[in-house]
Symmetry: C2
Subunit: 515 residues, 2 copies
């Protein structure tokens, strides 16, 4: 191991800083603010967090934990179960942690992923005590080469008082050179960030840190958790088909070229299926400017349909991971990983005109989107980067299946129980039943189109009846406030929204001519 | 008049294009898409729209009307009453038009002000047939010098098939040179927009258009409507005091310098009062990077507290207008007017770290903000630029008085009836009762702070009781969905929320220690 370590670590006196995960974890004290690497379950520090959880079992401590986004290897759950997490930001996907958040035990701060380090840099989130960063290598000057994600690691390492590096000897050596690390200047004197295309390289391939701050180097050899993305099914294929058809139409109309525009896709099976769908369309020279590069990205690169992908992390299934990680050199000229404040930077997203494709939990008849809260109250994962992209890109698409829980819950509701994306930020909605193009429409027009194009046929008459009754009351965005949340109240009581449909007096016919 | 016109119009053959407003209005046909100058009731075309309304009385026609933002001189109301407006975007403040929108007669598309011309440029809003632009001058090459606003005039003039120029001979000649006109490149090849400070000048002082497109020149001499901003009162002075105190604290903590950061303030009496409050604080070398420059901007410039202000329009009271318009040369080096896609550009707002100060209609205990919809359904004005700034700036502040209608309505509610700004985009909330600093807080913490700091004491116990009951049900953002909208339902029924307070069983004590 030491021979590999010597290759990976060029820092002259690195052996003096070598210690066990338990020793390194001892540098973290109760009440500290800790920043850890990790984004979409890729590139998280693996051993120090577990050592911290073990220590907390005998010597309780609580910290504020910031990461890039979600951690893999059940680390968020283990830390949560060990009661280590007093505060957690900006994103998570863990079942145990989610439950603790919803019990009100862990204070979870759900943030736009581009914003966390902006706030930290301006001292708006307090001082960062310790950074724990997984690395593929350390340069002679102390530069840290990240592994499968950059996330917020750059600014965590630069801003923290002490840095613990987990040097992962099992990470592919070919990661070295894959990253492009750039730190925006302080405001108000910040200069334009010179990313002008997905393949722009504007920084260094490592995180530049003062080597004196590297307080510990821990040798590890763990692996990232494989992605849990499921293959496309009939519904997600239909969603993909509708969206691909829309893109083809936009090309015909001269609003997009056959290369479309740089694509962003949220994490998960649905967005992955849509990206897979692009294999079939008449597109070429596609690019991505996204957060996470999933299986579909590498399939598109392999097929020649895509020529370049920029992200902040790589999260793959086991089989795709085998292919990519063992042959990373094949992709080296076509992939770059950036800090998430760059991958999600509003100005760059606006400049490039990104097409943003994100997943909704539910949306309402006016096109307001709930991405985060089950029945308006219980956190699922977090807003992630969807707001960075949906607000600032050229086209903002939200996708979901029209129902959940075997049809018991309609994803199209009269009034969303929580708003993450207001109707101003939503151009296109897609379910397996169709696509609603909302550009340039007023709320009343949006309602008719969303009900007709996106809602499940079973729920359509009840939605149309709600809209008709609301419209009679007037308003720019008509509502019957007494009934607005009745679908969610019913779902909370019955576990199903079906009784709302059964209670709809006369199924209002949905005319065909108003779309 | 012709002598003045000759001075203002250098276009060689301009006399051949001279026509009456009625003749020019005849160029606009039924069904056309028309873009007009005008932003916050400044710089709108004044005669052609009225000619269009007159013509519609005898020869009905309907158009889609796009502007920068609101029009003055009752033009929106007159056009609405003449049934000229089939569709209207992206903002309005007119009483008559508002009523027509809320009756569902005019399709109003409420847009982020930075987005309209991005959509138009990409052909996502169809083709623009005619632009009607108020000008202070026309250069020899056909360059159009705008008047008191730039708004969307630049892209309207460039993208329209035909341009009608209203050459306003009563506009101050000193306007020439005040504007900085720049058009971002097409995506995906757009280069960084080189604004790096409020005083950056990156373009031309006129709108460059193909002179062959100038189909009509109409000589006018109308004036902009004076701003209706009311002087600070006790409540708005208290709001200003809380916010100024917060800024002072931020300076002490080293999070801001005494120059703060470039300031943005929404239009209206409340934001104007806050800006006035800055006269009192220990601040210096202030700058603005905002949409609209109001009385307070010029007072701050005159006092020496502010050194530069960038906006898209100037909207002043009669008395301040006298001072500024008659001596514009005094301000020429300290003021610039830009296209609204530049003044509101997400990337520039992020780069500069703008402090965004906008007005809320209401906000909920978790910090979600409703800026637009009275009781969730009826449009007031529109979201304007608040989303461009609140999402992307360094600090996002929303202000409102704690109650409206003499205390009958609480501006702090359990659940906002409409969301324009989700809690992710809201850092600071201020009412006359206090300031809630929400940075780094989870929803349950936000609720306690908002209730204690911002709510009117009369409504606090009922809000606290709601929050306590909701918290017992669990969730990241606890709610009792059955009661969530009850305050609005009551307000709709009674015109007052007071009976909600009266029905609150036991006024829950609000502890002091949890702030």
């Amino acid at each position: 191991m030491n021979e590999v370590a010597q290759q990976r670590c060029q820092l002259p006196d690195w052996r003096e800083r070598l210690m066990s995960a338990d020793e390194a974890a001892a540098l973290i004290e109760d009440g500290m603010v800790v920043g850890m690497s990790g984004f979409t379950r890729a590139g998280e520090a693996k051993d120090v967090p577990l050592a911290l959880a073990r220590r907390a079992e005998r010597d309780p401590l609580q910290i504020t934990l910031m990461t890039g986004a979600s951690l893999g290897n059940d680390i968020d759950g283990i830390l949560s179960d060990a009661h280590v997490l007093a505060r957690r930001m900006p994103f998570q996907v863990d079942r145990h942690l989610r439950a603790a958040i919803n019990r009100g035990e862990v204070m979870f701060i759900d943030q736009h992923l581009s914003e966390t380090v902006e706030l930290l840099r301006n001292k708006q989130l307090g001082k960062l005590d310790v950074a724990v960063i997984e690395a593929a290598a350390i340069t002679a000057e102390g530069g840290i080469v990240p592994t499968a994600s950059v996330g917020n690691s750059t600014s965590f390492a630069i801003l923290a008082d002490k840095v613990i590096v987990e040097l992962n000897l099992a990470s592919p050596e070919a990661l070295i050179g894959l990253h492009d690390i750039y730190v925006p200047g302080m405001r108000p004197d910040r200069q334009p960030i010179p990313v002008t295309a997905p393949d722009s390289r504007i920084g260094t391939p490592y995180i530049p840190v003062d080597p004196d701050k590297i307080a510990a180097i821990v040798l590890t050899h763990g692996h990232d958790s494989p992605s849990t993305v499921t293959p496309p099914n009939e519904a997600t294929r239909d969603i993909a088909r509708h969206l691909i058809g829309f893109f083809e139409h936009e090309v015909e109309q001269g609003r997009l070229t056959s290369s479309l525009l740089p694509l962003q896709a949220g994490i998960g099976s649905m967005a992955n299926a849509v990206m897979h769908g692009l294999m079939e369309g008449p597109f070429e020279n596609l690019t991505m400017y996204s957060e996470v590069l999933q299986d579909s990205t590498f399939d598109l690169l392999d097929s020649g349909k895509m020529i370049f992908a920029s992200g902040s992390s790589i999260t793959l299934s086991s089989s795709c991971g085998q292919r990519v990680w063992n042959h990373l050199e094949r992709y080296r000229d076509r992939v770059v990983l950036r800090p998430q404040e760059l991958s999600n930077q509003p100005g760059i997203v606006r400049r490039l005109g990104v097409i943003a494709i994100n997943t909704a939990l539910e949306f309402d008849i006016y096109g307001n989107v709930n991405s985060t809260h089950v029945n308006g109250t219980h956190m699922m994962n977090g807003i992630g980067g969807s707001g960075d992209f949906a607000r600032n890109g050229q086209l903002s698409v939200f996708i979901t299946t029209a129902t959940a829980k075997a049809g018991d819950l309609s994803s199209v509701v009269p009034f969303v129980s929580h708003v993450d994306h207001s109707e101003h930020d939503v151009d296109i909605l897609v379910t397996e039943h169709g696509l609603a193009d909302l550009r340039g429409l007023a709320p009343r027009e949006r309602a008719r189109r969303i009900i007709d194009c996106c809602a499940d046929p079973y729920y359509r008459p009840a939605l149309a009846a709600y809209f008709e009754a609301a419209s009679e009351r007037g308003g720019h965005t008509p509502h019957c406030l007494e009934q607005a949340l009745s679908w969610h109240i019913t779902a909370r009581r019955d576990g199903s929204m079906r009784s709302v449909v059964e209670a709809t007096p006369t199924p209002a016919p949905v005319a065909d001519d108003h779309v």
